[in-house]
């Protein structure tokens, strides 16, 4: 096993461990994360397997294929995060608005 394999595998195992510790009964998330990590670890141990898949898809190197897929996944994740931020912002706005209106009404009643 080479150094980089060791670093990557221990990184993934740590992330997995962290995920299990914080496990809050969402079984689908845990399963998804376990499957993704194990695929990652398999490809780290046998990097030449990515080459086979890459060639079938018309990409020269396995590393390139992984890189392209990462870009795709990350853009998707960023979009999802943006959507969630907007939703949170909307909730925060509603809360602040409600609070300011309540306060105003309370002021009006007291005078």
């Amino acid at each position: 096993m080479t150094g980089i394999q060791l670093i990557l595998i221990s990184g993934f195992l740590l992330a997995l461990l962290f995920f299990f510790i914080r496990w809050r009964n969402n079984i689908a998330d845990v399963l998804l994360f376990t499957v993704l990590s194990s695929t990652a670890i398999i490809f780290i141990l046998y990097p030449e397997w990515t080459n086979v898949i890459a060639h079938k898809l018309g990409v020269g190197r396995g590393a390139d294929l992984v890189f392209y897929l990462c870009i795709l996944i990350f853009s998707f994740v960023i979009l999802k995060l943006y959507a969630r931020i907007r939703k949170l912002e909307q909730m925060l706005t509603d809360l602040v608005r409600k609070e300011s209106l309540h306060k105003k009404q309370a002021d009006q009643q007291s005078t």
Partner: protein, 231 residues
Amino acid sequence: MSTTNDHTANVHVIVPAYNETPMLRSVVEAILAKGYTVVVVDDGSLIDQSACLTDLTVHFLKHEINLGQGAALQTGTAFALLNKANFIVHFDADGQHSAEDISALLTPLFQKKAEIVFGSRFLSKPLAIPKRRVRLLRLARYINFFFTGILLTDAHNGLRALTATSAKKICITENRMAHASEILFLVKKHNLSFTEVPVHISYTDYSKQKGQSAWNSIRIFFDLLLHKLFE
């Protein structure tokens, strides 16, 4: 309900204010002098803005945190509707709008010729509008047209007037400056009749400094893009 006087009593002018103390009082006084009800929405200012308004009869609302002008306008509108306003006017606190223009904005609403009236600085006689501002606004105008299909002469003018019924339909969710375009989306969506009225904008050093920078317009553009994406 039919005479203009009754209408005047039910006009709520919403003034969103964020750290505007130097100008706020004179702006509010000018509107009060015209006999309108004033709703000041303090958008989480760091300074206590209510202190300079204590002796004036205004409705003062405060956001606990800074959310943006769009959010402040919506809060003011929500309050005005609770307070049974018939007409709602949006008015900037930085002193660039003139209280004289409010009655002109309201006239088409009184005459039932429109449900929402936009102020336009380009319909009035050419005043000293900074060149860069003109170019930026011209660009914004076409971007708005691209997104909404409505081509106004002045894309981002903060002075507008609505009837209570149209204000109920125009629910602003864009907290920051993209609300000006969002209002156009909603006008289009609900098929509201609209018109433009010439208004006077004074560019003081203070309002220029508080106003939109060119960089900000890029942010507005992205807010709009995201708004369309996640609709």
